[in-house]
């Protein structure tokens, strides 16, 4: 195994483009090194991208949007007070992953590019409308988080492409997000169903924009437009919540495994969507929940 420590994303992309065999980028390593240790994937080329300037930074632009470095671990997000005020759902989703020790290393981009359908931070990123900068051998592009996973363990990134920054939109007024997952215990588990919702209200409390994302109920994260439409124009009355639950359940295409059956996951997606929407709505109204 070749270990590289490039100091720019262009250099990282060039290294990956020239490499043969299995190539992995190393940031937090909480998936890559587990796979290495368990003999699941032994990379021929490992490119440690933590020596690139800025990868550990969280910064806010004058327009209120955020840029999160690709090596920022969950623990740093959790400790960033203003980021947590703007995007509590995103921060909480990331914080649910693994132990304190895992939080010291695990990153948003790692969670996304590992390609697990059950990744906790991914529905939250999709609901928030997160975009990624991607650096490749021939230049850079910007891609929505929802377009990165294409199948379990697979992404749309081409050979030589590396995610170089995470862009979180400006929070804006009267808006809030939330993430909930179902697990059969209280900590240290993998989502059976995950649901993230991001809402914007007008001053009367009517939902003007909504994004609803589901995890662990399909081969990839789902952005459910019907579920969002069920909320838009409502004040989150019981009828709108029931329509939301129906649309969320209808979008599910899960598998049965040891964590849950198809029927259970489909039902729980609807239940979680209602609960998540209520939290996002309360936050959009300025409640500190």
């Amino acid at each position: 195994m070749q270990y590289h420590r490039p100091t720019s994303f262009n250099e990282a992309a060039a290294l990956a483009n020239q490499a043969t065999g299995e190539t992995r980028f190393l940031a937090g390593g909480t998936d890559v090194l587990v796979q290495l240790r368990a003999d699941i994937v032994t990379p021929d080329t490992l490119i440690d991208i933590k020596s690139i300037p800025g990868v550990g930074d969280i910064s806010q632009a004058p327009d209120g949007s955020w840029t999160i470095g690709i090596a920022v671990p969950g623990a740093e997000m959790r400790e960033h007070i203003q980021l947590g005020k703007d995007w509590p759902g995103l921060v909480e989703a990331m914080d649910l992953i693994g132990s304190t020790q895992v939080q010291g290393r695990a990153t948003l981009v790692g969670n996304l590019c590992n390609g697990s359908p059950a990744a906790d931070s991914v529905p939250a990123m999709v609901a928030a409308g997160v975009e990624l900068s991607v650096t490749g051998p021939t230049g850079s592009r910007r891609i929505a988080a929802v377009d990165v996973p294409v199948a379990p363990g697979r992404t749309s990134l081409a050979k030589g492409e590396v995610v170089s920054a995470v862009h979180v939109p400006a929070r804006g007024k009267n808006a809030g997000d939330a993430y909930l997952r179902f697990i059969p215990r209280t900590e240290m588990d993998i989502a059976v169903v995950g649901c993230a919702i991001n809402l914007t209200l007008d001053t009367d409390g009517t939902v003007t924009a909504a994004r609803v994302a589901l995890g662990a109920v399909a081969p990839t994260v789902l952005l459910v437009e019907d579920a969002a439409n069920a909320l838009i124009g409502s004040s989150l009355d019981e009828e709108a919540l029931n329509r939301l639950a129906e649309a969320a359940s209808a979008a599910c295409n899960p598998i049965s495994d040891k964590r849950g059956t198809v029927e259970f996951r489909t039902h729980v997606a609807g239940v979680l969507a209602k609960r998540t929407a209520k939290i996002a709505y309360a936050r959009a109204q300025g409640e500190n929940t």
């Binding site: 195994m1 390593g29 090194l33 240790r37 368990a38 671990p73 304190t100 895992v102 900590e187």
Partner: protein
């Protein structure tokens, strides 16, 4: 295979070592630096027995490569006591008999110290969540949690 030369700091001592690119920080600590306090339980980041801090951040050393230690500040259980003088957590773990076989103990000490540095007045729930990544198959956790809570109270009083 070509070895990587690494310069780092372990418990405030400057150290240098050569390691294979696949070698973990845990392997390096135990096999090259003879610091056998950090234990290998699972080797895949689940049990916390290999807990150390890297630049003040609690991590599993089995999920860090030795090569990644370059230029970092590593702290292990060996650095918790000051010479012969035990850290208050170590005293309390003895007083409460918060261990049986002891495999998990170094990791739990490192993790608990890291918690108390960030939060000198944790609730029991906060202690339990913070230590959720440190598995102990002997004690049932109760004595560990009480030892940490009592240490925190003593340290607050002393400061």
């Amino acid at each position: 295979m070509k070895k990587i030369h690494v310069t780092t700091t372990v418990n405030n001592d400057n150290v240098e070592f050569l390691c294979d690119p696949r070698e973990t920080l845990l392997d390096v600590l135990r096999d090259r630096l003879n610091l056998t306090g950090a234990k290998e339980g699972c080797g895949t980041g689940d049990c916390g027995a290999c807990s150390v801090t890297v630049d003040g951040r609690l991590v599993c050393s089995c999920l860090v490569l030795g090569a990644e230690a370059e230029g970092k500040k590593i702290a292990t259980v060996e650095g918790i006591a000051k010479g012969e003088e035990l850290h208050p957590l170590q005293h309390k773990f003895i007083e409460y008999a918060a261990l049986q076989c002891g495999i998990c103990t170094p990791g739990i000490l490192v993790a608990a110290k890291s918690l108390l540095e960030k939060n000198p007045d944790p609730t029991e729930t906060e202690v339990r969540y913070w230590l959720a990544g440190n598995l102990c198959r002997c004690t049932g956790y109760d004595k560990i949690i009480r030892a940490v809570m009592d240490t925190a109270a003593d340290m607050r009083e002393a400061s």
